[in-house]
Amino acid sequence: MAGLVALSLILITAYFGERAGGPLHALQRGFLTVVAPIESGANTVLSPIRSAFRSIGHAFSSGDKVAKLEREVAKLRNELISYQEQEATYRELSGLERLDAKLSIANYRPVSASVIADSPTIWYETVVIDQGTSAGVQDNDPVIDGEGLVGKVALAFPDGALVMLLTDHEMAVSAKLAASGAHGILRPKVGTPNDLLLEFLPAETTVNAGEYVVTAGSLAEPGESLYPPGIPVGEVTSAAGSGEAVNVRPLANLRDLSRVQVLTAVNGSPPARLTNLVQRIAFARPQSTSLTSVIGEG
């Protein structure tokens, strides 16, 4: 008993103290490599039962969802009309900069994956997916679903990858308000595990509830994933009180993920080259680096 307690304490201390490439992390990666195919198989076998359970759960909440979706459709219809006018201008400008060709999501070689394992605790917002390095997935690759940004790859191994969700305490995403373009850093909100907080907005920023938050295409801190610009992340729910931070609800249903896409910027592709360039500059400069400014300098 005492031996097992001591062994647990040694493991915790060693794991917490070592770097991501340390021996215990390597052991974890190796173990995940072995069990990922088994988990994938088990996931396939259990998926009909899981779908049945989910259908029952969805049936209970569908009434509220329909009303909410109808309100959203009405709101989006109005927004669509105004955005269609702006679209022509945007296409013209982005075409000039060749940004659309270089940074469209298709250029990131999206790899579709299924969620095969999920953490039961609220302390780790992570899931395991069934695509890994053999499919081109690497550490730090952005992960999206049909709704928007989901998170990033924390640990990639041959037949799977561990994905850190947006609501994990270690996540920080450089994001901006879609309407005003004001930049900030998006982090999980302490107190409500399923909400985010967009911080460090310029003091004079005016924010309205319902406004969308998208990825900025810049780095919040060195070593972070360079998310492609314009990926929808969340919707502003209310101002957080200080005036320089707002509450954001993630668009992706992070508690009920089944299919995701990993944006794998393969070596040599324009997104990969831009990522490397920005990472180099981010290490040299203390402040965040805008992707568009880097392209301009290049």
Partner: protein, 195 residues
């Protein structure tokens, strides 16, 4: 380690150890691949404390502690979480449940629900305490944490009834064979070869 060897001595002991191993692996895969993907009221049922507590209750304190350590290690390895954390808490749960049986041997219809709830509560509180001690900034307020612990305990207590039924059906035959053999020795009975 001598305690562990004594707990799994002989063919029946090995058979029991094999069943516990199968149970540990199956429960971890069922948890991560199925149960965790079905949140209820924003909380997920956690099978690990239930499986460990019931294993300890049925098989004894030392086997319970070993199963707790093993299941915890598997969970941490499978989900990429801090190695040793779940092991530390679950081995205490397994040992505690085993000691409860050894010292008090309680019998009541709702006992599995009480053990399941207590195991889940211990796991959730223990996990939170260790995470706070490690300085992990989890996105939870005190109130939210209390809600998660309360709901998690209730859900696990509900899930305890079917889990207990499955575990007892799976482990009881091996436990009875193993304990009959041990009792024969300790109470002055003849060794199997001499009977």
């Amino acid at each position: 380690m001598a305690f562990v060897r004594n707990s799994f001595r002989g063919n029946d002991g090995v058979r029991l150890a094999g069943r516990l191993l199968v149970l540990a692996v199956a429960s971890v895969f069922l948890q991560t691949g199925f149960v965790s993907e079905l949140p209820m009221f924003g909380v997920r049922i956690n099978l690990a404390p239930l499986v460990v507590a019931f294993s300890g209750f049925l098989c004894g304190a030392v086997p319970g502690a070993v199963v707790g350590f093993g299941v915890g290690l598997l969970v941490d390895l499978t989900l990429g979480e801090t190695l040793g954390l779940s092991s530390l808490i679950l081995l205490f749960i397994g040992y505690g449940a085993g000691r409860l049986r050894e010292l008090r041997d309680p019998e009541a219809t709702l006992l599995p629900l009480a053990i399941g709830g207590a195991a889940a509560f211990t796991f959730l509180v223990g996990y939170a305490v260790v995470e706070f001690l490690l300085g992990v900034h989890a996105p939870v307020s005190g109130l939210e944490l209390v809600r998660q612990i309360a709901l998690g305990t209730i859900l696990d207590a509900i899930a305890a009834a079917p889990t207990w039924a499955v575990l007892r059906a799976f482990l009881q035959p091996a436990v009875e064979r193993s304990s009959r053999r041990r009792r024969a020795y300790t109470t002055g009975g003849l060794a199997p070869r001499l009977r």
